[in-house]
């Protein structure tokens, strides 16, 4: 059976990290399963973890008074869920729901924050990786906000 460390070492997100880092990170991880429909995170709740999704699909939702729950992004196998554990006030900024049975590795953010504080090289390496994900999400959000396919002009 593959360990958490094996799974993480094979994931592109962790490529390039030293074996020491990987051992530290893997020591903060555990396999978890969310059944379809389960709530993984609620908006405003304490964010002390992030997830590496191994199987299944996760819905990221925001609630509005006018339209109820709006599905704004889905994450699938290979995606990383959650970065709020990195920044004060360490609160989830979005709701995450399992759309199918979700198998993931849960990484303890409190544990990792402490290790990042004491090992700035690892902290910087993780911050770089999360910054890349955030930049990708910002780019995607720009495209969504532009409403590319909804242009009202034409011949």
């Amino acid at each position: 059976m593959r360990t958490v460390g094996d799974e993480l070492r094979a994931h592109p997100f962790f490529t390039g990290l030293s074996e020491d880092c990987m051992q530290l990170i893997a020591g903060c991880g555990e396999h978890v399963v969310f059944r379809s429909g389960a709530t993984i995170a609620t908006e405003g709740s304490a964010a002390n973890e992030f997830y590496v999704i191994e199987r299944g699909r996760v819905a990221l939702r925001l609630h509005t008074s006018a339209a109820g729950a709006i599905l704004i992004q889905t994450l699938d196998a290979g995606d990383i869920l959650g970065w709020s554990w990195l920044f004060p006030p360490f609160r989830w900024s979005i709701e995450a729901i399992a759309m199918q049975d979700v198998h993931a590795i849960r990484l303890d953010g409190k544990c990792l924050r402490h290790k990042c504080d004491t090992d700035p090289v690892m902290g910087y390496a993780l911050m770089q990786r999360f910054s890349y994900i955030m930049s990708q999400r910002v780019e995607a959000t720009r495209l969504q906000v532009l409403d590319l396919y909804g242009s009202a002009n034409g011949p």
Binding site: G68, L143, D147, L148
Partner: protein, 273 residues
């Protein structure tokens, strides 16, 4: 084609609503029309209203019908939406350079379509899925504003189940009941599991989508000259005389609308072009 500047009268044979603003209709091909290549367009003419360049969205092997899928967002297209069989319109064509399907033979064919951009790529699907042995794999990545605006959904699902099409679709936003993907089309590229060195990509949609898609494809290792895009500009004569659709040294109606991405990248990145 007879006189390329003279529309011929054709009869609308069928009409179908695709989404709130998008509809598909078929006309009889005019006398002497011949065949069209995937990616080409016709000029559709409504007397007293105007003329518009509309991609051909049907099967190139179908000699009895010309199919057009239209988004009603302008004077001509809104008027077209009001027509039903057996109304008559003017048609001239086909015009333009189509998709380079031959370049994809023996390789992976990756189509990326955003919104109404699927219409000019559907003829590619008809052709490629009629001869799937010519390609290592055929993949369609599809982006739309909402689940309700995903075009040709039933047909695409049939092609996925019966013809081996790899189909990944995403929408910009959806209600909580939607079980599919939500996000942008560029995120689908990675999930498609393509072999970048073997891939020929054909991309059609809004120009910003073309730029971001090309960038993502290149990041993954797809060669620039294996990326082809279809551009849209206001076309008037469709024969390269009037210059309305000029982009740098090109007339889109004659030199395009399909281009190898490196040929037009500079102009897509330049303001005011």
């Amino acid at each position: 084609m007879k006189d390329p500047l003279l529309p011929q009268g054709v009869e609308i044979q069928s009409w179908q609503q695709e989404s709130e603003l998008v509809f598909t209709f078929q006309v009889e091909p005019p006398e002497g029309y011949g065949t069209f290549r995937a990616g080409q367009f016709n000029m559709l003419y409504l007397p007293g209203i105007g003329e518009s360049a509309i991609s051909i969205s049907g099967d190139p092997a179908d000699r009895n019908h010309l199919t057009h899928t239209v988004r009603a967002v302008g004077t001509v297209t809104r008027a077209l939406r009001g027509l039903r069989p057996p109304a008559r319109i003017g048609l001239r064509g086909p015009f333009g350079r189509g998709w380079p399907l031959a370049a994809a033979e023996g390789r992976e064919l990756l189509l990326m379509a955003g919104g109404i951009g699927l219409a000019p790529l559907r003829p590619v699907l008809f052709q490629a899925l009629a001869a799937p042995e010519r390609y290592r794999r055929v993949t369609l990545l599809l982006g739309a504003r909402s689940p309700e605006e995903l075009l040709y959904a039933e047909q695409l699902l049939r092609w996925k189940s019966d013809a081996g099409l790899q189909l990944l679709a995403t929408v910009d936003a959806a209600s909580a009941e939607w079980r599919g993907d939500v996000g942008v089309i560029t995120d689908l590229v990675q999930r498609a599991g393509i072999n970048p060195q073997q891939t020929v990509a054909m991309v059609c949609g809004p120009e910003i989508m073309l730029r971001f898609s090309a960038r993502r494809l290149r990041e993954l290792g797809v060669a620039s000259d294996a990326i082809h895009v279809s551009l849209e500009r206001h076309m008037q004569c469709a024969t390269g005389f009037c210059g309305h659709c000029q982009l740098g040294p090109y007339f889109l109606c004659k030199d395009g609308p399909v281009f190898a991405y490196p040929d037009v990248e500079h102009y897509l990145m330049t303001q005011e072009f």
